[in-house]
Symmetry: C2
C-alpha cells in the first residue's frame, strides 16, 4: 500500500470507531468534516517515510502513529480556526467546523480528536506495549504544555514572546513528533531524529510565511495575510522575500545533512526535496536544494 492509502485507511478507521451508535450525530459528522478528505498529510507522510527508512518492521505501529499525528494536527486546526483565535471561514477549501456546525461543536470536535489520537496509540499497545508508550510520550510532549503546540499557540497571548520557543512549539513540535514517532514506531531511538524534524519545521514555517505573503486565497484554500492581520512574527517581514528564500534553502540543506545514517537515507533526502517543492510552488529555485 502506498503512504497515502496507509494514512487514509488508518485515519478513517479511527473516525468510524468514534461514530459508533448511540452517539450524537452532529458531533460524529463534525469529526469527519475536520479530518476527511484532509489536506496534504505532510506530517504523517514524513512519519511513515522515517518509519520505512528505519525498516518499518511493525507497520501497524507506524500506521497508528501516522493516524494519531494527523488527528492531533486536525484538532489544532479546528481550535485555531475558532472565532477567538483566527476566526477563519475557510479551511482546505471548505467552511471551517464552527461555521459548518457551530462553535460548541467545534470546541468538542477538537477535544474529541485530541482524545482520539491518544486512543489510537493506546490501542496499538496490544501489538507492542513498549513502542506504544514511547509514541504516547512523544505525542503528549509535542502537543501539550510546556513545549508542544498548545504552548506555541499560548505564546500568542504573551506581551513578550520568546521567538525561538514560539516557533519551535507552534510549528516545529509536530514535525519533531513526525520524525521521532516514525523512528519509535520502527523500534529506533527517537532522539537521533529530533534535529531533522526541527529543521523541517523551521523550513515549513518560512515557507508558510512566503505563501502567506505571496499567494492568493484560491491557491491557499484559506484567507491570506493572516499574519499581518493578527500581528504575528513573520520571516518575510523580518528578511524580505529574497532573504526568506535564502533562509529556506539553508534550512533544507541542514535538514538533509541531519538525516541519521540508515538504509533509507537517500530516499528521505529525496522526500525533503519533494516537500520543499510542494511547500513553495511560487519559488522554483528552492527545489534545487
Amino acid at each position: 500500500m502506498d503512504l497515502n492509502s496507509r494514512i487514509k485507511t488508518a485515519v478513517e478507521q479511527s473516525i468510524l470507531r468514534a461514530q459508533s451508535q448511540p452517539s450524537p450525530v452532529k458531533l460524529a459528522e463534525a469529526l469527519e468534516h475536520a479530518v476527511l478528505p484532509g489536506g496534504a498529510r505532510v506530517r504523517p507522510t514524513i512519519l511513515l517515510s522515517v518509519a520505512l527508512a528505519c525498516g518499518d518492521d511493525k507497520p501497524q505501529m507506524a500506521d497508528a502513529a501516522a493516524a494519531a499525528l494527523e488527528i492531533i494536527h486536525c484538532a489544532s486546526l479546528v481550535h485555531d480556526d475558532l472565532p477567538c483565535f483566527d476566526n477563519a471561514d475557510i479551511r482546505r477549501g471548505k467552511p471551517t467546523v464552527h461555521l459548518a456546525y457551530s462553535e460548541p461543536l467545534a470546541v468538542l470536535t477538537g477535544d474529541s480528536l485530541i482524545v482520539m489520537a491518544f486512543d489510537v496509540l493506546t490501542r496499538a499497545g496490544a501489538v507492542d506495549a513498549e513502542r506504544a508508550l514511547a509514541l504516547l510520550g512523544i505525542l503528549s510532549r509535542q502537543t501539550g504544555m510546556p513545549h508542544g503546540i498548545c504552548a506555541g499557540q499560548g505564546w500568542e497571548s504573551e506581551s513578550e514572546i520568546d521567538l525561538s520557543a514560539y516557533h519551535r512549539s507552534k510549528t516545529g513540535a509536530l514535525f519533531v513528533a513526525a520524525t521521532q514517532m516514525g523512528a519509535a514506531a520502527a523500534g529506533h531511538d527517537p532522539e537521533q531524529w529530533e534535529e531533522l524534524g526541527a529543521r523541517i519545521g523551521e523550513a515549513y514555517q518560512v515557507a508558510d510565511d512566503l505563501r502567506d505573503a505571496l499567494c492568493d486565497e484560491e491557491t491557499l484554500g484559506k484567507p491570506v495575510g493572516q499574519d499581518n492581520i493578527n500581528a504575528r512574527p513573520n520571516a518575510v517581514d523580518q528578511l524580505g522575500v529574497r532573504g526568506a528564500v535564502t533562509r529556506l534553502t539553508d534550512i533544507l540543506s541542514g535538514a538533509i545533512a541531519s538525516i541519521p545514517s540508515c538504509p533509507g537515507e537517500a530516499m528521505l533526502a529525496q522526500l525533503v526535496r519533494k516537500q520543499a517543492e510542494a511547500l513553495t510552488p511560487m519559488v522554483p529555485s528552492v527545489a534545487r536544494v
Copy 2:
C-alpha cells in the same frame, strides 16, 4: 498519606511539570487556576478508594490515575464554562478561566489539560506498562467519542436527545472511569466495577439536579437554575423534589449492592453513603440509605 494529600500531591506535580520554562507564562498560570486548589475531588477520591479496596499494591499507578482523572474533569469544566456553552462567570467561587485570563487561553487550558492527563498515565508506564495502557484505554473511552464526556456535551447540540446515552456519557462516564481506573491501577479486572461507577454517576446527576433546583449561588459556588436557562433535561422537572429524592435513595442502594466482593467492601459502602451526604446537604433523609 490520606487520600486528599495523595490527590493534591499528584495533581500539583503534573501542573509543575507543565510550567517548566521556557513556556508561555499566562497559559502556565491558567492551568493552575483551573486545577488548584480544586473542588471536592469526588472522582479521584472514589478512584483511590476503589484502588485501596483492591489492595493498592502499586500506589504510584493509583496516584497517576487519580491525577489524570481529576485533570480531565477540570479540563471539561473549563470548556463547559466557555461563552459558547454555559457562559459561566464563577467556578468553585473564583472567576472562570476565560474571565480571569481570556477565551483563547481557556480553550488552550482545556486542550493542555486533556493532553496532560494522558501524559501522566503514559509516564506511569515506566512503573507498569500493562496497567498504564489499561488506564489509558479507560480514560480515552470515558472522555472522547462515541461514549465519553465529549459525547455527553455533544448530545446538547442534537434536536432529539437519547436521554439515557446523554446522562451516561455526560455525568456517568467519569464516575465509571473512577471505579474502573481504581480497579485497573491495583491490577484488578475493571469490567466488574462498571456498574458501581454508573450508579454513582446517576446518583450524582439527580443530586446535582436537586442542588440546582434548591440551593443558592453562595452554597453552590456557581450560578443556580442553569438547567432551566439552558433547557437541559432535569430529574426535578420530571419527578418533582420528593420523587427525585426517592429516586436518589434507590440509586444509592443499588450502588452499594453492586460493589464487587473485595476486602474493602464495607469501607466502600461507607464512602458511597458519605458521598451521598456531601452531595445532598439539603436532603438529610438521603443519608439514611
